[in-house]
Amino acid sequence: MNKKLPALSVYFASIVSGFVIMGVELIAGRILAPYFGGGIYVWGSIITVFMLALSIGYLLGGKWSLSDPSLKKLSMLYAAGAILLLPLPFLGQPLMEALFVRIEDPRYGSLLTSFILFFPSTIVLGMIAPYAVRLLTVSTQETGMTAGKLYFVSTLGSALGTIMTSFYLVMVFTLPALFGGFIGILLVFAAVLYFMPAIDNQETTS
């Protein structure tokens, strides 16, 4: 087996997590619109919650990477992210129905809904980036290069997730189907990372 394969799989998985984060963020707008409208505050709520979740995710991911990091643990983040996205298609309607009745102001209604629906999964998906940096880092001098490459691929994945979802995917698929797709692709990469042999850092840096 190619010795670079484990490291490559981490890069590919980072593209995927970036893609899914932005894909979910974009369809969040569609999910909230029937209850909270298409006002600018709906996007404000969604982006606030995603940014907050990512910032906490980065911190937790970095912390978790301190103790005995492994590909198997990274794969668990993908699986956990997928599992936390799973209830959204079912939970969304009744939750928004309940909040709509209780909260008159659509700004706080959309903020609370975004928080409950998207905060947990986005934290977990945010943990992936710093964790992956730790897994791929070989020496202190190369930390910056590794982080740079990972940010490059994961942000590229985010750009792809944004344009693909908003331009094309919403034209072809229903929202539950899109959720299913995002969950499926996370689970596939959870499996890929789980069965990958450990990264041999000596080889990957040459």
Partner: protein
């Protein structure tokens, strides 16, 4: 340039702004520009004259006159509804329909809903939007307003769906779920009226969605515009013969508003063919703005 765009440009050419710019305003949602020529004053949603298609116009010397085709067709709905008491207008623009309906049904309370506070302000300052006890304005998203009215079990005799976001109708205000919410706040003999584009690629989706929510509906394709106005009711709509009987009652008002009933009934289609009943727009699937750009 694609076909749809060319067609639309040709149709709208007559309604593109010309005249002097008298007011410009940037809101959260759009740029608003008021232009005035010696004949009419118009509101457009762009600062560039060449692509600022007018949302609302008013003749300087005949302020009651409805300039747009779709507005005339919408106002003619007075023939289909007996003594309306509550009228709801989603999407305000310059508010020409507010005054028209007050003319036609002075007994009715009119509620206008407009997401953009700035549009309301401009309508008040430049288009004499009535501030009276018979007229209420709310600055809120139309979908939210309808949902809240449903909770309050409110009932409207006429509901005008005229919300546009610059390109077209916002996605969340075209779905079958939204139309069902609208239907739920229609009085038993009430009428929902929607302003759509007949050049839109979405047309067959829209037809299927209206048929799903309302059953049968009437449509009017404007000869002087690209508008397709849909009339849909809680129950069966009155026949054209029945509606024509009421024309004499509104003769004076129709003249003032510039409504020609012969033209209205000429373009009325009481049977609309639904080509593909599976193509309905839902909250889960509404590729509205994308499809429309094609």
């Amino acid at each position: 340039m694609n076909k749809w765009l060319m067609l639309l440009t040709a149709i709208l050419l007559s309604s593109v702004c010309n005249g002097k710019v008298i007011h410009k305003e940037q809101s959260l949602y759009r740029n608003i520009m008021v232009t005035e020529s010696n004949k009419k004053r118009c509101m457009g949603f762009s600062f560039r004259k060449q692509d600022s298609q007018n949302q609302s116009c008013k003749l300087v010397y005949r302020p009651d006159y409805l300039v747009f085709d779709y507005a005339k067709i919408s106002a003619a709905s007075i023939l289909a509804v007996e003594e309306p008491k509550n009228i709801l207008i989603l999407g305000l623009g310059g508010g020409s329909l507010v005054e028209a309906f007050h003319e036609l049904a002075p007994q009715a309370t009119i509620t206008s809903v407009e997401i953009d506070e700035a549009v309301i302000k401009v309508a008040k300052n430049y288009f004499d939007l009535p501030e009276a006890d018979w007229h209420k304005v709310f600055a809120v998203d139309g979908r939210i307003f309808v949902k809240r009215e449903k909770l309050k079990k409110a009932q409207y005799d006429i509901i005008i769906l005229d919300a546009f976001n610059g390109d077209y109708i916002p996605a969340h205000m075209m779905t079958v779920e939204f139309l069902r919410e609208v239907k739920s706040i229609l009085s038993p003999n009430g009428l929902a009226i929607a302003n759509t584009f007949s050049t839109s690629k979405l047309k067959k989706y829209e037809s299927a969605t209206y048929a799903k929510a309302f059953g049968k509906f009437y449509q009017f394709k404007g000869r002087h515009s690209g508008n397709r106005v849909i009339w849909a009711g809680n129950t069966d709509l009155p026949t054209p013969e029945k509606m024509k009987e009421k024309i004499p009652t509104f003769k004076v008002q129709f003249f003032k508003l510039g409504i020609d009933p012969d033209y209205i009934f000429d373009i009325l289609e009481t049977e609309v063919e639904i080509n593909d009943p599976t193509k309905i727009l839902t909250d889960d699937y509404a590729p509205v703005n994308i499809l429309n750009e094609k």
